[in-house]
Amino acid sequence: MGSQTPTFLAASLTKTFGTLRAVDDLSMSIAPGEIYGLVGPSGAGKTTLIRMLSGLTKPTEGTAHLLGAPMPDGRRTVEHRFGYMPQERAVYRDLTVAENLLFFGRIYGMSRARISERTGELLELMRLQGHGQQRADRLSGGEKQRLSLACTLLHEPDALLLDEPTIGLDPALRREFWDHFHELNRRGRTILLSTHYLQEAEWCGRVGLIQRGRLIVEGTPAELRREAEQRSGRERPDMEEVFLILTGSAVAGGMS
């Protein structure tokens, strides 16, 4: 990491909704080229954290930086360079697959020719060939999610903020999504994603465990496993056990 500007940076980041502290004094730094997974139960504050980093939500306290720009105030300087995939599939149900990509490309200032070129590439990558003229509401859940990811990748962003990108996908499709993530990562993209599938933590470069708005522990999957082994004395715990050990089993009951 060294002197490089972190792609995502949170410093004492806090967001309160009324009395709820959705994100509570959270600090983290993600360097260019990382795949970082936010793991934690629903309601842990993962979405709020990602929205603050994307500039959609204004922090109550602390600061969020994306590609070196303070968010949300500095977002104008970086908005072309990052892609955000909301938890909702966030595509227009009543537009075709190609029309969705056309619209999201146009608002990023891409030419129609470039969009149609990228559409071809992405439909192939997402195995949606032949679906270009199909309306989004006629797609299956998995196809819709692939379209959503395609919309996020369309303008070739350097930094990706993906909120539960694999939620609701069957295991095979989840694997396939992760293959995409690793491929994007190899091509130099920095990825911050959230998931509540503990298995996926294994596939991240680094993992942060989030609970009640706080970052409980972070490290590579191997580091987390070692930590869990030391605390519990168990040998080679799987990720689910690691999470239970590190967070305390009582609160981990809500995990899927």
């Binding site: 929205r51 966030a90 595509v91 537009l95 619209f103 146009r106 608002i107 919309c151």
Partner: protein, 371 residues
């Protein structure tokens, strides 16, 4: 602000409508159906009212009263020889009125003039009237008064009518501008509201606000889309108005379109504004009657504002369509330029500025609690 982003939003909204054929059909059918339905059922011309006419005097003068009643489309006159009990005749025969001209009517009529001053000796027509429908009763009274006034040289008073707009303006002529405003307001407000609520529900809003899109670009994109739709809807109303009802258009069509588009802009603003109050599509539907009812009831579209109880009248001036009606009627029926109807023009302008400004505040909030 970038034109290509504005047009990207416009194109997207139009493509969405294009895919939703039901909405598309509704958009084009609504102005047509509204025009035909209201045009026919509220044409305002009462015809074929059955009246019985009994002439006990039988002079040229009384003959001319009968002729003038017979020429009036409003009446279907049946001439009877005599009547004993006019009230029973009314109840039993289905006539709306019994008009009886008594013996010596003509001589009393002329005697009255000969005296030169007011006198009790005066020609009297007996009118027995079924007042169960006040509108029909009024028509009969006015028709008979017209007939009596129309007695020619000897008539008591002559009213010389000059038609300000060159022709007689019928209900439908002043109704077409109101239908244009109503249909454009409904479609623009309701579809903008639904569309933006769906953006919130589906999460596409988040994608837009992390992109380089500005709020002004977003609103302008919607405004252009619904401005175009308003234009098409106005054409439908005018075409049907002209072809089916042969409506009078005294003014400039270009000004009329300009005013309709202006009104559509305000309606898009209103739809955006209301979207802040709804989190789901079913919540949004609650607002539909809130938009429709005051527009239809209070705007002076169906009946003049003067016919609305004084207590409620201030509410009429809170309904945007009230101003649009004044403006469009001034432009289309009176043939004025928009600024020659200051109240209507100013009202529509205030509506546009106010809703667009507030819409932009609302979008700022929907875009996340950034501020």
């Amino acid at each position: 602000m970038k034109a290509y982003r504005i047009l990207a939003v416009t194109e997207r909204v139009l493509r969405q409508l294009w895919h939703d054929r039901r909405v598309l059909v509704l958009m084009l059918l609504l102005p047509a159906v509204a025009m035909l339905l209201f045009g026919y059922s509220f044409s305002g011309d009462i015809t074929d009212v059955r009246v019985a006419f009994i002439d006990e005097d039988n002079t040229d003068l009384t003959e001319s009263i009968l002729e003038s009643l017979q020429e009036d489309d409003a009446f279907e006159v049946t001439v009877l020889d005599s009547v004993d009990d006019p009230e029973r005749l009314l109840l039993e025969s289905g006539y709306q009125a019994v008009i009886r001209i008594p013996d010596k009517f003509t001589s009393l009529y002329y005697a009255h003039f000969a005296m030169g001053v007011a006198t009790s000796a005066q020609g009297t027509i007996d009118l027995t009237l079924d007042e169960s429908d006040p509108q029909i009763a009024t028509t009969i009274k006015m028709g008979l008064a017209d007939a009596a006034m129309d007695l020619g040289e000897g008539g008591p008073v002559e009213i010389d009518t000059r038609e300000l707009y060159g022709v007689e303006v019928r209900f439908i002529d002043s109704f077409a501008p109101a239908i244009m405003g109503l249909v454009v307001a409904l479609i623009s407000t309701v579809l903008t509201l639904l569309s933006i609520v769906r953006e919130k529900v589906d999460g596409t809003f988040s994608r837009i606000w992390v992109s380089p899109t500005r709020r002004a670009e977003f609103i302008l994109g919607y405004v252009i889309a619904f401005g175009l739709i308003a234009l098409v809807q106005s054409l439908v109303v005018l075409t049907i108005g002209k072809l089916v009802f042969d409506i009078v258009i005294n003014g400039s069509i270009a000004w009329a379109f300009a005013c309709v588009i202006l009104f559509a802009v305000g309606s898009v603003g209103l739809g955006t504004l209301l979207s802040a109050l709804a989190q789901t599509e079913s919540q949004a539907i609650v607002f539909f009657p809130l938009v429709i009812l005051p527009s239809v009831l209070l705007s002076g579209m169906m009946w003049p504002i003067q016919a609305i109880p004084r207590l409620l009248r201030p509410l009429s001036y809170l309904v945007p369509l009230t101003y649009s009606n004044r403006l469009l009627r001034a432009v289309m029926v009176k043939g004025l330029a928009p600024w020659q109807e200051p109240l209507g023009f100013a009202g529509v302008l205030v509506f546009v500025v106010l809703t667009i400004l507030l819409a932009s505040v609302v979008l700022r909030q929907s875009a996340g609690e950034r501020e």
